[in-house]
Symmetry: C2
Subunit: 447 residues, 2 copies
């Protein structure tokens, strides 16, 4: 049996549900929107990740006996609420950005359309998944830009929670990394895995040469030897002595990398190991990778910085009610007004406007009816950004599972290719695209 | 059936295992140590968290059919390795710091003693858990110091991975928070949960007063009303109009908090609601909490900053081999030598030296034999920091589960009370205690 995801929820959602069932507002239709107010860290774009994971968790968002017992024993909700939760299943609609898509401030990354009761209790789960996965994917995309055509491997599992590690490997792969060290990510999401040896392997043996010989004996001469346990120059010499000039690769995990990479390359070449590749893995982030662009490095391994979002460990997205049915049955746009956290009410339909295949703006049409927005946008050269993820409670299988990861990775390449060149700079700046709101006359358009 | 934790592992650990089984080094006894080289973010102390979670995951670290099939299908290991993993169970010893204990650079937070094969494959799991949980606990402890006697609630689930959210709630509770919004943390670890309503609750209703009335009807007048959806002064007036002067509390989630809290307190008092409490929850970190010390605030809710480690989202701990059996059966201390990542070899026993109950140093005795270190330390006024967590593969139940969380929270209070006053400052500085290494003659001491 799959473990329920239903308690990955903030208590206030069930408190509101209790009060709403009591005053009759629980069954009002509402539209909730998940979006980012701003891009943290001066990023020029964000990368959506986590959609497929959220959909799988939504499938398991059911209150079974164990969950209900906890809520009853702790007096978190009353009996009518327990009865409601026992039968809970999301029956509404969710549209959202494709996984791998780019987003900007205000982009309606997810739009959840259902009764208040069924939508409000998804807030925490949706945000936890999208905020972490998108933070990592956004950092990963910047590293992928910095690395150019050189492959990047994610190896940061040890520097984030053990389950977040799996999500991070997935987000990195979507945003352009080519492999991960994390085996669970290989099993669950079909991501290629990699890895050869740690310093412990060398230290387990009396001599570095013994460790190298045993590794080659087990894995073949095309393995990658870690050559910096004692002295790098001696390590390179020993590696080639043991493996011969056909050694697959060496890994450098310390030192001043541009300098060391050049020295190692020269030494390998002088020993005839001209095809032996150099991987570097020491505390890399997008800036360190960019600084190695002219160095003879063949591939990068990135740990801490990517799994912690390279300085922005959460995407900071929020989940807000933007429209609801009034007591007379009409739709009302709603928004929080106070202070710096004001939101833009109304249901939103999003398009990326293009000029000669280069993105020019994030166009957001505000209208309670999706159709009228689509009509309006057809007058622009624009790409619709939202797809149906859940229809009347049914999850669209295209957006979930292993195949969805590959599709997201491919879509990210397409979406990134539309960006103007200025969006690829690593320095802190404003979002690369401006978000433009267009409010449509809510009485126009066909029903 | 519990899901196996065995693939929450970096591939290189299994690659090393393959090679070690082949060259006969797999069964050499080794000592691995988990420690931090430094305290990130200029912190003056670290807080150990995650020990109990690691022990539970260690219990589930077994390679079942599904795990073995993946490793075979992907050709990650060879057949002898699959056979070894099929019977894998950790049979060694683990000693470590109590959960809730403080740590400093070099503190041997965990020491894993077993064969190379059985110890090396625990690296990623141990680090993932300890690095995330300790990063959060360390941030939480600083907030708890800043908050003084005012209660702190953790409400950051939405800003970290959905499973990390549960771990974060647990780490915060251990480090001095009094409650969490996360229901799964309530169920799994027995942590008190809290929460009343979001802005969506007010926006669901035609009028703020309707929302307040319905909430009070469902939850009683001692509930906490969120009063900043539209206008704070009007929100306070409406709250007292609806609930009367016995209203339990109001929550403020936006604005310039010191100013707003003072205004709200004055308004509540003028309306006779002198016992109504004020909770603030807007983007708080330890510095914002400290800045509210003189404001009429009764409790704090902290989200993003604590679950992301308040600027240091990982504790940066590493897992290194420090000693191994030589081919002649004697013990050898081992350490990586190169560059900035050199480590201190040898098995370590740790003590906190005290003077009049105030901690004065982190004393680390290096000796292959625990007994000789304990003898040596008995000459100091010192508290032994390590406890037995796993003995010959058996997990000590005291350190796992719900009761272990309460014990860790209590131990943290004790350990923090020993710190010198300078350790409680929030500014960036050096560790509050110096780590002092004492190398014992490895031939002395009784066997």
């Amino acid at each position: 049996m799959t473990r329920s995801s239903a308690l990955l929820t903030d208590r206030y959602e069930l408190t509101m549900l209790t009060a709403a069932l009591r005053d009759g507002t629980a069954h009002r239709r509402c539209v909730f929107e998940l979006f980012a107010r701003r891009l943290p860290g001066g990023r020029r774009f964000g990368v959506v990740a986590g959609i497929g994971r959220f959909l799988s968790l939504l499938r398991d968002f059911r209150f079974g006996e164990d969950e209900l017992r906890f809520l009853r024993d702790e007096r978190i909700v009353d009996e009518p609420t327990l009865a409601y939760l026992a039968n809970y299943r999301f029956t509404g609609n969710i549209v959202g950005y494709r996984e791998g898509e780019l987003y900007f401030p205000g982009s309606p990354v997810l739009t959840v359309d259902g009764t208040f009761a069924e939508a409000v209790i998804l807030e925490t789960l949706a945000l936890s998944v999208l905020n972490y996965d998108s933070a990592v994917a956004t950092a990963a995309a910047r590293m992928s830009i910095a690395a150019g055509n050189r492959p990047l491997a994610e190896m940061g599992s040890r520097r984030t929670g053990e389950q977040s590690a799996v999500a991070a490997a997935r987000a990195c792969y979507i945003a352009g990394f080519s492999a991960t060290s994390n085996l669970e990510a290989g099993r669950t999401f079909g991501i290629p895995t990699m890895g050869t040896a740690a310093h412990a392997w060398t230290l387990l043996h009396e001599h570095e040469a013994d460790a190298f010989r045993a590794q080659i004996d087990a894995l073949g001469a095309d393995t990658t030897l870690l050559i910096d346990t004692y002295d790098i120059a001696r390590g390179v010499q020993t590696a080639v002595d043991v493996a011969g000039a056909s050694l697959g690769g060496v890994r450098i995990d310390s030192g001043d990398l541009p300098l060391v990479a050049a020295q190692v390359r020269a030494q390998l070449d002088s020993l005839g190991a001209t095809a032996t590749k150099i991987t570097v893995t020491s505390d890399l982030d997008e800036h360190a990778i960019a600084a190695l662009a002219a160095s003879p490095v063949d591939s990068y391994g990135v740990g801490t910085s990517v799994v912690t979002g390279a300085g922005s460990p959460t995407a900071g997205m929020v989940f807000k009610i933007v429209a609801r049915e009034a007591s007379n049955g009409s739709w009302v746009s709603v928004a929080k007004k106070s202070a710096a956290k004001a939101t833009t009410g109304g249901r939103k339909t999003a398009f990326r406007t293009l000029n000669d295949s280069v993105a020019t703006s994030e166009l957001i049409a505000i209208s309670p009816r999706f159709e009228s927005a689509t009509d309006a946008a057809s007058t622009y050269d624009a790409r619709a950004l939202q797809v149906n993820l859940v229809s009347a409670g049914e999850i669209h299988p295209d957006h979930e599972g292993i195949r969805a990861v590959a599709a997201a990775r491919a879509h990210h390449v397409t979406a990134r290719a539309e960006l103007p060149l200025s969006a690829l700079a690593l320095s802190r700046s404003d979002p690369a695209l401006e978000t433009v709101y267009v409010t449509l006359d809510e009485t126009s358009g066909h029903q």
